[in-house]
């Protein structure tokens, strides 16, 4: 057995540098250990957020620290069936890890040793407490007093003499403790024993279960700290995918990486298991198709399948009940019914009230449902859970053929993937309205920021410096309310969920002047509309009516409608909104407002990716299309294209870049350009990531001025594509998993 050095891996499964996304939480646990203030830390985990490796990393850090803090880690597993056997296993683990720490021998933690081995390996200075402990354990073990035995085992860390150090125990998977058979409820017992021990400790598990246990144990919450463990944020999850893929030698594209993060909602558990499945099958994940095929394999028989199947088997050990449970849950989830009757569920499940309550409790703990007494909502589970449930339902209840289920699930997943990414990109691209209104706080801002027509008349086309200066000197100011609550519109009108995108349409409750009286109470209903050009009367009216109706339905006494659109509103739309005293702003006005009130935009540029040698990468905007045009001019000159042709190529590239910038909601805000020179032609490929425009490849240019004014949005889009097709010899749009790829060829003519 080798001695520990500063970076020994003891319990961790991945090296520290490969452990991504939980740095803050790791620091918090280690600080908690080092503080030794006798407080407990409850680590409240969202299902499948993963906390085991976090605790093991904390363990290794403390082990390598070799201070007077003695780290002890114990994970409850499904293999233990009773509270007594789990407690005995805990005692064994404590002694084994104590010895490993004292002897600085990491391998001892993993060695298969017995209590007799412990006695033999213990330093002589420790025998004086370990020997009596083992003897007492053997006496109590055969006393038939299970409660005494459990308490004795759990109390083992307290028997470590102060001169040897202070034990710091971390319990993992504590939700399993309550499922153990026997006369002792272990989860609550843990909290009782450690809550009174005066030692610092961590108990980690599913958030709903841990809090329930703490209440059942009548814990003193003043002595408990809480640490919530959510799913990873996007950038952390991207990093996790990259690290796991590299470690597992799984080749995957950026598009698949991003899809995995969204599809699994940043869950480290699912992401890691999925990539391990790819490694096991030696699969490369280059396309959405590669990804979804493996996903469906996983749903039907892989890690994901086993994870959910095991949970269901615990909740409903008998097959008949399990099948009924799958039926009831899937039908409730599919119907989108948010408040089904609990009694109705019980009748359909055909179980006794006590057993039913236990099942419902477990479903609630796993967050497959939200159970609030008389009603149950099965629409809340993760997408992966719902996919598993649907597959299980089709196979077990509908008895569909496996081939059909596989084929249709792959097809459905593939159809869903671009929408998943589109939704994500739109959300990333949007301005966070919640944050904006949350910063209002009774500040005074120029009224012109809420009236697009006035703004357009005075400021459109104005030089930026002059604009900032004039905005600063605006005398007509409005005082914003203090906002006290913001929620999505569909939280107020669940019947119209599809009409509202969560973050683009919000209801903000507040008070004028920050005075909390009925007279000062106000509600702002805000929608950020999607439109490439000025919003017309029809769209403005439909949104005004929708929000106005929402306000009336909810009996808001004083309210204000505020519509926002990228390019503002045309005159009739502006007139209508003004008539109803509604506010309307362009994105530019909103940006200025944000500057004025000091809010921060949610939109963050993605990190720069490395371009390969054939690629020229240009950031979107800032007239950077001119850089692309300039580059192609140099290349075309080498091919001796005549000046007119060069100008045509340049114009086509400018249009392609504008098209990519305008339509893609690109996550990295970059345009990728490939120039290929051949003997008789120049081939230019312009691509960007993001969303494929629905009309891509269409050729509906409107040439007459009258026609164009009738359909302004199509006009501009149509003009760009029309120009490209006219100026280049061959133009081809290629559909890729996400984004657009436009290939343009210009032939060199000798004439």
């Amino acid at each position: 057995m080798s001695s520990a050095d500063f970076n020994s891996r003891v319990l961790t499964r991945v090296p520290r540098h490969d452990f991504v996304g939980r740095g803050d939480e790791l620091d918090r646990i280690v600080k908690h250990a080092n503080a030794q203030n006798g407080r407990g830390l409850l680590l409240l985990m969202t299902p499948s957020a993963g906390c085991s490796e976090l605790l093991r990393q904390a363990y290794d850090q403390l082990f390598n620290q070799q201070s007077d803090i003695i780290p002890l880690y114990y994970a409850f597993t499904r293999h233990e069936t009773t509270a007594v056997s789990a407690a005995i296993e805990f005692l064994q683990t404590v002694l084994q890890q104590y010895l490993a720490f004292r002897r600085k021998e990491p391998a001892l933690c993993r060695a298969p040793i017995t209590l007799q081995d412990v006695l033999e390996l213990a330093p002589s200075s420790d025998l004086e407490w370990i020997e009596p402990l083992v003897k007492m354990y053997e006496r109590i073990r055969f006393s038939n007093d299970n409660k005494a035995l459990v308490r004795f085992c759990l109390g083992a860390p307290q028997r470590i003499p102060v001169r040897s150090g202070k034990a710091f125990v971390m319990f993992d998977g504590a939700q399993l403790a309550d499922d153990l058979n026997g006369s002792v409820v272990l989860g609550a017992e843990l909290l009782r024993v450690f809550g009174r021990s005066g030692q610092s400790f961590v108990i980690a598990g599913l958030r709903r279960q841990i809090l329930d246990s703490a209440r059942a144990a009548e814990s003193n919450f003043e002595l408990l700290d809480l640490l919530r463990l959510e799913q990873l944020r996007s950038e952390e999850a991207h990093s996790l995918v990259d690290h796991v893929a590299l470690r597992s030698k799984v080749v995957l594209s950026r598009e698949v990486r991003d899809l995995l993060v969204q599809q699994f909602d940043g869950s480290p558990f699912f992401i890691t298991n999925f990539l391990q499945a790819a490694r096991d099958r030696n699969l490369a994940l280059n396309t959405y198709l590669d990804c979804e095929r493996l996903y469906v394999d996983e749903l039907l028989g892989g890690h994901i399948h086993h994870h959910f199947t095991n949970l269901l088997e615990e909740m409903a050990p008998h097959i008949d009940k399990r099948v009924r449970l799958i039926r009831v849950m899937w039908e409730a989830a599919a119907s989108d019914e948010k408040s089904a009757s609990v009694e109705g569920w019980r009748r359909r499940l055909e179980v006794e009230p006590a057993e039913f309550e236990n099942t419902l409790h477990q479903l609630h703990i796993q967050e497959f449902v939200n159970w609030t007494g008389a009603t149950v909502d099965a629409t809340t589970g993760s997408q992966t859970w719902k996919d598993y449930l649907r597959v299980a339902y089709r196979l077990a209840i509908k008895a569909d053929s496996r081939a059909l289920v596989v084929a249709e699930t792959i097809a459905d997943s593939l159809k869903r993937a671009p929408n998943t990414m589109a939704r994500h990109y739109k959300q990333s691209d949007r301005i966070d309205l919640r944050r904006v209104v949350g910063t209002f706080d009774c500040q005074r801002v120029p009224a012109v920021l809420f009236d697009y027509r006035d703004f357009s008349k005075t400021y459109k086309g104005m030089d930026e410096v002059e604009l900032q200066s004039q905005i600063a000197s605006e005398a007509n100011l409005v005082k914003l309310p203090q906002i006290v609550h913001v929620a999505s519109c569909y939280a107020f009108d669940s019947g119209s969920r599809k009409a509202y995108e969560e973050e683009r349409c919000v209801v903000a409750h507040g008070f004028e002047d920050g005075i909390y009286t009925d007279a000062q109470q106000t509600v702002w209903l805000i929608a950020d509309l999607e439109s490439k050009l000025e919003v017309d009367l029809e769209l403005a009216k439909s949104w005004f009516d929708r929000l106005d109706s929402l306000a009336r339905q909810n009996d808001f006494q004083r309210y204000r409608v505020w519509l926002i659109s990228n390019e503002g509103f045309d005159e009739p739309a502006g007139d209508l909104l003004r008539q109803h005293e509604a506010f309307c702003s362009s994105k530019r006005q909103l940006e200025i407002l944000i500057q004025q009130i000091g809010a921060t935009l949610a939109m963050q540029p993605a990190p720069v990716e490395t371009a390969d040698e054939f690629l020229m990468v240009v950031p979107m905007g800032e007239e950077n299309e001119l850089l692309a045009a300039s580059a192609v001019e140099q290349i075309a000159r080498r091919l001796t294209f005549p000046p007119q042709a060069i100008n045509q190529i340049k114009t086509a590239i400018v249009e392609a870049c504008i098209n990519a910038s305008e339509h893609s909601h690109s996550p990295d805000r970059k345009i990728y350009q490939r120039f290929r020179v051949e003997s008789d032609k120049l081939v230019v490929t312009i691509s960007s990531r993001g969303i494929m425009p629905t009309n891509i490849g269409s050729n509906n240019a409107h040439l007459s001025k009258q026609e164009s004014s009738d359909s302004a949005a199509e006009e501009r889009r149509g003009w760009g594509l029309k120009l490209i097709r006219s100026l280049m010899d061959e133009v081809e749009f290629q559909r890729v998993d996400e984004g657009t790829s436009l290939r343009m060829t210009k032939y060199l003519r000798t004439s």
Partner: protein, 126 residues
């Protein structure tokens, strides 16, 4: 001759005709600047607009759509519009998008003024 020294778009007036100079790249930003200047000139009483493209090397479709808007605005104000000194490549683009059906083209600023003078006998040149 009334010379405007606007921060971004050069222009000057010859009688009731405003001559507005487009920059080397006509896009959304510079198009809106031209539109703003044209509106300003019309509001101050100009009855005709000459937009000079002598410096313009490159145009894009958004810039062209804004030009179309300017022609509309001028029409509503009863003003004439002439584009002057447009290079061949840009004329080709204007043709493709039908813009040349709605506006007169002149070889240079002088020809534009003459065209307007011929069209409107009351126009006075200084």
């Amino acid at each position: 001759m009334d010379i405007s020294t606007g921060a971004t778009v050069k222009s000057h007036c010859v009688g009731t005709t405003a001559i507005v100079y487009a920059s080397d790249y006509l896009n959304k930003l510079t198009g809106e600047q031209i539109e703003r200047e044209c509106r300003r000139q019309l509001d101050s009483g100009c009855r005709a607009l000459v937009i000079d493209f002598a410096d313009t090397q490159l145009v894009n479709s958004i810039g062209i759509s804004i030009l179309l808007g300017i022609i509309d605005i001028a029409e509503k104000s009863g003003a004439q519009v002439v584009f002057s000194d447009v290079n061949n490549q840009t004329i080709q683009l204007f043709d493709m998008l039908g813009l040349t059906r709605h506006v007169a083209l002149a070889k240079n600023e002088q020809e534009a003024l003459s065209t307007l003078s011929g069209f409107n006998p009351t126009l006075t040149l200084h």
